[in-house]
Amino acid sequence: MKRTLLAFIRKEFAQVLRDPRMKMMLFVMPMIQMTVFGLALSSEIKNIRLAAVHAPDDAAARRLAERFTSSGWFLPVAAEGRDPAGLVVSGAADAVLVFPAEGFARAAARGRGAVQLLVDGTSVTRARSVEAYARAVFSARAAAAAGLAPAPPPLSFDARVLYNPEMESPVFMVPGVMGMIVCLVTIILTSMSLTREREMGTFETIVSAPLENREILLGKTVPYVVLGLVNAALVIAAGFLIFGVPVRGALWQLAAAALGFVVTTVSIGTLISTISRNQQQAMMGGFIFLFPAVLMSGIMYPVENMPALLKPAVYLDPLYYFTALLRNILLKGGDPAVFARDMAALAVMAAATGTLAYKRFRQTLN
């Protein structure tokens, strides 16, 4: 029995890997995506386009505006006599500093040196950060630029951010991206392959083979589990080599997490294939799972913030646990309590989806 199963698995492997385009998609694309996303993604607010509207000969205003630019957060945008609101509505500027028309220094001397900061409210996180940065520069430099004695603000917070090095995003983002890529590859591989066989009619040839249902299912899914694990290994290695994402935890923890996750996603892919009549439906099914799963994985938005009614959905998302596990194992050294909790959840998911997939699979064979 074992030998026929192995032969079966080998045949599946050969089929999957025969197409060079498939190999590209399995091995090359994930690397490219890791690199691109790891380098590109940052939730830090940077490159804020700031326009300064002031009288043409207002040297104090210009000096202050330059201070903003040299702080490193802001990029200067020429105001060119345009109306401040117009600058924002057209998207030319994220924020506009509007100085008093009579001249900044003169107005300040008369106690009327109020400067207005118009901030584009489209993105709330951006708007808040813009204000925070602007205030920081303003309180440090405005008085001096206006030619007044610096007046320290009556109340200020000395803000300090701990664990700063990792705030430079790649090390933080990359584990999340890793999970997404592995999820994507395993789901679309599995759901499409099985459905395709059913559609093309080659499924019948397997049913007539001298194998038990259990073995047929194993034979069909084990290759994808293996491929998923290889994919995960590649992606983690790439994270280490390209971005220096450390592996502070134990390798066995990593392996367990990857196994639990891949088994879950392969089972879900199998489930999708059992309920799809054709490849188009399989694809839609894959999308219905993937889109929310990726969005709720934890790196896109703070999932802890979700309304109580919707939060259970997160606890049903295998990618959420896998991302948490990756972050924990890679960055925090695999804290045992947290690991145990997330790993247990993932293991339960793997068992549940695996059983469900097996039941449905058996049904389709009969």
């Binding site: 498939m22 998609m25 830090e44 489209t122 709330v124 007044l148 300090r160």
Partner: protein, 372 residues
């Protein structure tokens, strides 16, 4: 034989409509799924981090210092807890028990009362980048609230900075998320819909039959895109209805402009699907390619959540080939800022360009050769 015959293209379009109608599952999905996802994530996504445990170490213990701590609480974002010592606060930050810590030294209340500059230490856990940024973003508001509450006699600030948030004075983060969500979902579904249609005809052998007639590739492409444009517009309509009526997202711009932008975006995405279908000629590969080229780039690189401006310069240019990136700008601009055609000239032109490029690619890559 002409290059493009509308009658033949129309025949292909009619057939495609029949296929769509005979697959109610996909139909319902395309019209209904965007609404479901927008409703779910419209409620789920909230960038205002709340319930932040704040370790408060108050050695000053005056009325003013307690008032400052209470302002943190009344902001609605923080849950202050007493910390016994700075070391205790540090441990709390380390273990993740606290998201931030407030350390008030003795003399704070006195300084504030005298109008001398009073300073307080505020430490943020930087493990979660966006969370830390959000926390820092709350400080200006808390500072002004604290000043108001303590009523401290402050020397009138000769150069006050008055901030005004335009278009979204209440800082409703849903207004940012929901149009973005709509763009992403519609874009992705558009790609997926057309990605399989040409590949399917190759796989089941019907393409050979089509090509044995005078039918030209351009007619196949046009005929296959046309019905889906209508479908996409239907999906967009329902999503916008939900956004406006359900979530109160404003719509300040011009409807015809938004419609044109949507059409361009839909065309670009549908064309992307067709290109994938044409070059893969196999449904499974088409699906993989469309998911890989669609799902993650759309979600991550279009400016939906991660700002394009924060990307390194190379990637900022790279995202220019993504149609969701451009329509994201346009959609948000029209919806929230009421931007006009002149303001959005760049994104709209870019969408036109992408459309043309993708359609040309689909046409040129349409190999009519059959395997041996």
């Amino acid at each position: 034989m002409t290059f493009f015959d509308p009658r033949r293209a129309a025949a292909v379009a009619r057939k495609e409509v029949m296929h769509i109608l005979r697959d109610p599952f996909t139909l319902v999905l395309v019209l209904g799924l965007p609404v479901v996802l927008v409703v779910f994530f419209g409620f789920a996504i909230d960038f205002d981090v709340k319930n932040l445990r704040l370790g408060v170490y108050d050695r000053d213990n005056t009325r003013h210092s307690r008032q400052v701590a209470s302002v943190f609480e009344s902001s609605g974002y923080f849950l202050p807890e007493g910390a016994s010592s700075p070391a205790d606060a540090a441990r709390g930050l380390d273990s993740g028990r606290y998201s931030a810590a407030l350390l008030i030294e003795p003399g704070f209340g006195r300084d504030l009362g005298r109008g001398a500059p009073a300073r307080v230490q505020f430490i943020v856990d930087g493990t979660d980048n966006s969370k830390a940024q959000a926390v820092l973003g709350y400080l200006p508001g808390i500072t002004s609230a604290a000043l108001r509450k303590t009523g401290a006699p402050a020397a009138a600030d000769p150069v006050p900075l008055a901030t005004r948030y335009m278009y979204n004075p209440e800082l409703n983060s849903r207004w940012f998320v929901i149009p973005g969500l709509a763009v992403i979902i519609i874009g992705l579904l558009s790609i997926l819909m057309t990605a399989l249609t040409v590949a399917r005809e190759w796989e089941n052998g019907s393409m050979e039959l089509l090509l044995s007639t005078p039918l030209r590739p351009a007619e196949i492409i046009a005929g296959k895109i046309a019905p889906y444009v209508l479908l996409v517009l239907g999906g967009v309509f329902f999503v916008n209805l939900v956004a406006r009526l359900g979530f109160g997202v404003p719509f300040r711009g011009s409807h015809p402009l938004f419609l044109s932008g949507t059409l361009l975006f839909a065309l670009a995405c549908l064309s992307q699907g067709i290109v994938i279908s044409v070059i893969t000629r196999q449904q499974q590969l088409a699906m993989q390619l469309s998911m890989i080229s669609g799902l993650l780039p759309s979600l991550l690189l279009s400016g939906f959540i991660f700002p394009v401006e924060s990307m390194p310069p190379f990637f900022r240019y790279f995202t220019m080939i993504l149609s969701p990136r451009w329509f994201m700008e346009a959609a948000r601009g029209i919806t929230i800022r009421g931007a006009g055609a002149a303001d959005l000239a760049l994104p709209l032109l870019a969408l036109c360009g992408l459309c043309a490029l993708l359609l040309a690619a689909a046409f040129r890559k349409f190999k009519t050769d059959l395997e041996p």
